[in-house]
Symmetry: C2
Subunit: 412 residues, 2 copies
């Protein structure tokens, strides 16, 4: 089993791996402890400019982590991600555990070597996927039993096992197993679920070994203020290296999501990173950053890309529309991405209609570039103390003026 | 309508296009006539080392042209093709005519600008696709009526129209409309069909305008020696810029394909390029080169890649096999392609099983690199007068010793 936190172990891993793959021999064995630095706090909101340091390098916050579900950010190579400006990605423990299996990945040198992505990786706990399985899973105090969506095989995961899987994957940031409750869920269901998630978090922490990945807890509690507060207090009491807010963007109104952030983030340690899971739109991210969130992951830009929905500086477009059939302009005249530098809307529409693989690639490059560029501009705005101005200018250019209201301003 | 052969017209095209896309304004307007140079002839076979010059640059022969059916070599960007060593590609007139339509491509500046592939393009005539439609098409002396495989719409194409479509696409090498007869076909069917193909070739030539793309004729005649010879003689009499051998690799035995080449190539002009359509395997190509063929196109390396069949220096492998589940080695230890430099068989197997888009990309990069590298080595072998030795070494390393027999040697 491979562990990836300590210099000597990493050296050993590399040495072992070179038996079968000499190409990684020259890799620099740089090891850093997990650390979060806050570079600047915004004066008119809760926004922070920061940097997360890991064994595989660092990333600036606020950050957006593209989703590499099965060990690949769909359609792109690591080199392309780096060119787009991506500094960290997310991998799905549930998917990698089922296929090809964490032990296989461990024996092959860990997720970084397996996927050729050498920068930071955060893995989720699988909780969200398992609890999305509905009738295919059964929960107990000990853990959760579920059936694989791939072959129906039965699996039992405990909080301890989930920490172990992520250790073997060699991730940089691991998440605790949590129960993600659907929206809406009654108070009587959410309360005991949240309490169990807290007990699971405690067990996860207990099972942690020296040199393990950084471990983040996940605040749950549905849309109930006292439960969210209780969850946050209990987890902070235990002491994690970072805190995620889970169970959002599952169908609740936008304003409710922002309410949950407003209740929760003030209770989290100021010096630890805060991660809003599975969110979101550009506007969601700016709002959440103003409420003190440091990073995000979401399938939105990559999935939208594959479905032909593209972000532009003046709003989203659907590339399949007939109006683009002979449109020689790039997706966005102001965009400097590879796709916009070389291809017309007409060609992208053609590739989409012809179901060409290149369609997914070129669209994904563009949408991720849009997201990364948005984050760059957001960080600049925080640095220069003009995040509210940036939000207003963004929503105005997107034709979303009416949404330029609370929560952002009310929290200024 | 855009024509792309003459400096002034190309300038005009670029000027018109810049109305909607300023990015192409700085493009160098370099125009050359189509020209084929023979650099060296092999002493022990009919093989030739040469160079084809076009308005969009030149390519070395023997050459392999990857297939970009719908304006994209599936899954790859032009930059990746260039990195792999690709110097020219093929586009399918049938597909581009139906979607997005040649007139749309013409209005957008032609196929090169549309697809961002700036090097030579050869387009086929659509004959192969149309005659593969079976009951959906009807042939007459005037031309062929067929129904679109996309929407069932009815279309009528003549030899003249096919020349026009390719002119509007702005291809570098255009093919005449031909009837590609299935194997086996009776002599009584093949003879009148071949004669009509010759009449169509004559009409194609008549309809040619100054500054049109280079026009190649296609020798037909099934597997009947006298018909192949009659076809070749008739077409050579008309005088084309190049000659293709069509109607092969449609199910006939390999030895029969080589027989057809042996009958045909000696009748073709020594100073014109010879193109074997839709072929083939590495061994087919070496054999055909020894019989005087200059270039090839085939979907084999790209389609195989998407199906997980990969070429290696010691034979083909199927990446989906369980034996590769924890194989940390690259596809081919001797290969220098991007895929082999960075990814293990285990990862490629995982991507394939998980149906990740990146699977098609990485496999296509490898297979095309294998083909391009094979052609580089073939050209070196011709230059150094050791093509037979190269063939023997290739078949031996592939475990194909028994096939190292005629036709290659018998033609030495």
């Amino acid at each position: 089993m491979v562990q990836g936190r300590q210099a000597c172990l990493v050296s050993e891993k590399i040495r072992l791996f070179t038996v079968t793959n000499h190409r990684h021999e020259s890799r620099i064995c740089e090891v850093m402890a997990f650390r979060f630095e806050i570079i600047k706090k915004d004066s008119s909101s809760q926004a922070r400019l920061g940097r997360v340091n890991t064994d595989h390098g660092s990333f600036s916050t606020p950050a957006f982590l593209p989703v590499g579900t099965q060990g690949s950010v769909k359609s792109l190579t690591p080199e392309e991600l780096v060119e787009i400006g991506v500094e960290a990605i997310l991998g799905n423990t549930y998917h990698l555990y089922l296929r090809p299996g964490h032990e296989t990945i461990g024996r092959l040198g860990g997720l970084h070597i397996f996927t050729h992505w050498e920068k930071p990786i955060l893995t989720d706990s699988g909780g969200f996927q398992i609890f999305s399985l509905g009738s295919l899973r059964k929960i107990s105090e000990e853990g959760v039993t579920f059936q694989s969506h791939l072959d129906g095989s039965s699996h039992f995961l405990t909080p301890e096992k989930v920490v172990e899987i992520q250790r073997v994957l060699g991730t940089d940031i691991a998440m605790v197993l949590d129960e993600c409750v659907p929206y809406p869920s009654p108070y009587e269901y959410v309360k005991p679920s949240m309490e169990r998630t807290s007990r699971w978090a405690s067990r996860s922490l207990q099972s942690r070994r020296e040199n393990d990945p950084a471990l983040f807890a996940i605040v749950q509690g549905g849309v109930h203020r006292d439960l969210r507060e209780e969850s946050a207090r209990a987890l902070v009491e235990m002491g994690f290296q970072g805190y995620a807010i889970g169970g959002l963007s599952v169908g609740e109104p936008k304003s409710m999501m922002m309410d949950v952030l407003k209740w929760t983030t003030p209770l989290l340690p100021k010096d630890a990173p805060r991660y809003l899971m599975g969110v979101g739109t550009p506007e969601d991210m700016i709002n959440a950053v103003s409420l003190g969130i440091d990073f995000f992951d979401c399938v939105l830009p990559t999935r939208n890309a594959r479905n032909g929905t593209l972000f532009t500086s003046s709003g989203k477009i659907s590339i399949k529309q007939a109006r683009y059939a002979e449109d020689g302009r790039p997706i966005d005249e102001t965009c400097a991405c590879y796709t916009c530098r070389h291809y017309s809307r007409a060609y992208l529409r053609h590739l989409y209609l012809a179901k060409e693989i290149l369609s997914s690639r070129l669209n994904t490059i563009h949408n991720l570039y849009y997201y990364m560029n948005l984050l760059v501009k957001m960080r600049e705005a925080i640095r220069e103390g003009r995040l509210l101005e940036f939000y207003q200018s963004h929503t105005s250019s997107q034709g979303l003026e009416t949404e330029c209201s609370p929560p952002f301003q009310s929290n200024g």
